[in-house]
């Protein structure tokens, strides 16, 4: 049986308070997984630990069988991280940015150049390939960041609120690209506050509250759990209300 794309066990992290509380989570390879939760639930902290941007206080993270603590570089080679704030340099062009990312991930130059051209074309950025990113809109910057995440052909893509601030057209392009990658067997884990997106795109949904996984499953499984036909929004609000701390 192949290793899961992401296996988290007993993960904990505290800052001034406990943010992630002994989390266990498994995401299968080739799955589109949506991580939902109210503000401050710990979603971003979890994903930042998976991406290697934060050290866990306790617990283990394995990406396609590679433990991030024992071999962080090998694990990072398989992962792409896209945050809600695009990580792009104002004074590089999209092509130069992709060349830089390809250099960091040591992608063969010829392959990276071809892939970069395809991605820029796919995301509608080809006419702007040689313009400095400083003049781009938020949506264009997010698409450049997404192209950067895909240029090294990751096996696991982690996205934290990738659709924030995007117009309908840009959001559609990003969603199409992500669904295309899932069809190719890539695993996508995404946090979002836009529940319709999770409802339409995700195969499984995990709901986080107070740093714990309070529910998980397909949309139908979650509906069954509540015992009625509801929208994801109703299910989400019910679950969060059930787990709200006592006043």
């Amino acid at each position: 049986m192949p290793a899961p794309a992401l296996a988290i066990s007993g993960l904990s992290k505290s800052f001034d308070r406990l943010v992630v509380d002994g989390l266990d989570l498994t995401v299968h390879a080739g799955e589109f997984y949506a991580l939902l939760g109210p503000n401050g639930a710990g979603k971003t902290t979890i994903l930042r630990m998976v991406a290697g941007l934060l050290q866990p206080d306790a617990g283990d993270i394995a990406i396609l069988g590679i433990n991030t603590r024992s071999d962080p570089v090998a694990a990072k080679r398989l992962v792409a991280w896209v945050s809600d704030e695009p990580m792009v340099y104002d004074r590089l062009t999209p092509l130069e940015y992709l060349e830089f990312v390809a250099g960091l991930w040591q992608v063969d130059a010829a392959i990276a150049a071809t892939r970069a051209a395809e991605l820029l074309d796919w995301l509608g950025l080809a006419p702007h390939a040689n313009e400095l990113c400083g003049g781009f809109s938020k949506g264009m910057l997010q698409k450049v960041a997404l192209a950067g995440a895909l240029v090294h052909d990751p096996r696991l893509i982690i996205l934290d609120e990738p659709l924030t601030g995007l117009d309908a057209g840009s959001a559609r392009q990003v969603k199409d690209v992500l669904l295309g990658k899932v069809r190719e067997g890539v695993t996508v884990i995404m946090t979002t506050h836009i529940l319709e997106v999770a409802e339409r795109m995700a195969e499984r949904i995990g709901v986080i509250a107070h740093g714990r996984l309070i529910a998980e499953g397909t949309l139908d499984e979650l509906r069954l759990r509540l015992g009625r036909q509801s929208s994801l929004e109703d299910i989400f609000l019910d679950l969060v209300a059930q787990h709200a701390p006592a006043a």
Binding site: L53, W81, M87, Y89, E99, V101, G103, W105, A113, N130
Partner: protein, 515 residues
């Protein structure tokens, strides 16, 4: 702690002035103390001690001159006017940079320009604030000399503060005129760049000019050699010439002082009145630049085959080359390399003795340049998450960034070192070693005090960590002293070298601990 009472509704010059004052006060307090009372006390004690020491130094410098008796003859007028011009060029340079920011800094401008408030009033207040900050800085620099002259020779020297006020106002007015002329003739896209170049040239130009003249005519590196030379004094206009108006005002002549104040403040008022109406339009055109897409020439070849370190170095060089504010921060340091270059040129083939003065200048410049570039490369990482999630060890990232910085320093200094090597291989070796140590120390300090910041925060790096800034400056000075003494062939060079190492050790102790 946070200043005066809440703002009352109402819009006017006074209202805007209070708003600006409150923001400036809070920012200054935050920068100086970081919100901690203990740090505020420590800084107050440090300022008092530093001011006392500088006043003592000024006393030592001025007491012999005052004992000789200061008379308003040509020699005195030349010396005062020349020294005043040095101050004034620095003021003009600062005003030029600050005025450019009034037009280009975004911060709250979108809010204000989209409100029904008058952009003319905002502009008037912000321009006056530039004038005030220019005057305050110059007054701070001049205060030890003026206070000691007043103490030793009489209170009439306190008129110097009035001269500083007049010259600050005049600098701001000229800076405003230059900026508006640039907007008109070269457009908002190039105004910022050209204004920075002009500011750097003005700031360093006069100092370098008289240093160069001193080198050419007197073989001396001292800028005062020219101001005290008999030829210059003989060629100067007679004492009743209007050229000496600022010097006479400085010496306490009331009519001259009043005239200076009328000229300076009048010029500033006129400049504000004439330019206020166009401020909104220029600020909006400058704001539009952030939405303008800048087309680069497409690369003919495909992606390069490169290692991770090469990719990081290439990225750093591209970003340094395109940084819009870097020029103003480093150009002056590069311009200061011109006099030693001139000295090298003139003394080509002569004895190595003349080059002793070149060594510390190069070492100092290398340290200062390396500090700025290292902050940009190490701390000013706009895509920190991207680099942190890349499959490479953090050590590799830092190594590549250090290599990028040191390579830039090497490229800038290599021609001078090469010229020095042809003239005196020993001097070149001493300089190369001390330049490496100075640049390496500055880079190491930036590494120890590294933070995660946007590159746009570059101007605030010096206040973000005073310990880093001070240790960087002291280490550069100590390595420069090591170079100077070593170049003169003395083993005493070990003294400042040991001091530099002590400074580095202290910086390491003060630096934040990393897990």
């Amino acid at each position: 702690m946070t200043g005066p009472t809440p703002l009352q509704p109402g819009i006017g010059l006074g209202w805007f002035a209070r708003h600006e004052l409150r923001l400036a006060w809070r920012e200054w307090m935050a920068m100086m103390s970081g919100g901690r009372v203990t740090r505020r006390v420590a800084i107050a004690v440090f300022l008092v001690v530093a001011a006392s020491l500088i006043h003592l130094l000024a006393y030592g410098l001025l007491a012999p001159w005052v004992r000789q008796g200061i008379v308003p003859d040509r020699a005195t007028l030349v010396l005062l006017t020349g020294s005043g011009l040095l101050f004034w060029t620095v003021m003009l340079s600062q005003a030029l940079e600050s005025i450019t920011r009034v037009y280009y800094a975004r911060s709250d401008l979108d809010l204000i320009l989209s409100s029904p408030a008058s952009s003319r009033q905002v502009f008037a207040v912000r321009t006056a604030a530039v004038g005030l900050s220019t005057v305050l800085l110059a007054a701070l620099l001049a205060s030890p000399l003026l206070n000691m002259l007043a103490f030793l020779d009489g209170p009439h020297w306190l008129a110097g503060y009035g001269v500083v006020l007049a010259m600050g106002a005049l600098s701001t007015a000229i800076a405003l005129a230059v900026t508006l002329a640039l907007f008109r003739f070269v457009g908002p896209k190039r105004t910022r760049l050209i204004a920075q170049i002009v500011a750097a040239i003005v700031g360093a130009g006069f100092v370098i000019g008289i240093q160069a003249a001193a080198i050419i005519y007197y073989g001396s590196f001292s800028r005062f050699a020219l101001l005290q030379s008999p030829d210059v004094i003989a060629a100067a206009p007679p004492p009743d010439s209007p050229v000496w108006l600022p010097a006479k005002a400085l010496m306490g002549e009331v009519p001259a002082l009043v005239l200076m104040l009328v000229l300076g403040l009048g010029a500033l008022t006129l400049a504000i009145v004439l330019s206020a109406s166009s401020y909104g339009a220029h600020a909006i055109s400058a704001a539009g630049l952030s939405h303008v897409r800048s087309q680069r020439r497409p690369s003919r070849r495909g992606f390069r085959r490169m290692s991770q370190r090469q990719a990081l170095r290439l990225k750093e060089w591209r970003l340094l080359q395109r940084d819009p504010w870097l020029l103003s921060q480093t150009l002056m340091q590069i311009l200061y390399l011109l006099p030693p270059a001139l000295l090298l040129w003139l003394n080509f083939g002569n004895s190595a003795g003349a080059f002793v003065v070149v060594v510390p200048v190069l070492v100092m410049a290398a340290g200062q340049l390396a500090g700025g570039l290292a902050w940009l490369a190490i701390s000013g990482e706009d895509a920190h998450d991207l680099v942190a999630t890349a499959p490479l060890a953090p050590r590799t990232v830092l190594l590549a960034k250090i290599e990028a910085v040191l390579a830039v320093i090497a490229v800038i200094l290599a021609p001078l070192l090469l010229a020095l090597a042809i003239a005196s291989p020993f001097m070149a070796m001493v300089t190369a070693i001390c330049v490496t140590l100075s640049a390496g120390s500055a880079t190491t300090i930036q590494l120890w005090f590294r933070t995660v910041a946007r590159r746009a925060m570059f101007r605030r790096r010096q206040v973000a960590s005073r310990a880093a800034t001070l240790s960087e400056a002291f280490a550069s000075i100590m390595w420069a002293a090591t170079g100077a003494v070593w170049a003169s062939g003395s083993w005493l060079a070990l003294g400042p070298a040991v001091m530099a190492i002590v400074v580095l050790a202290l910086a390491r102790l003060l630096s934040p601990r990393r897990g």
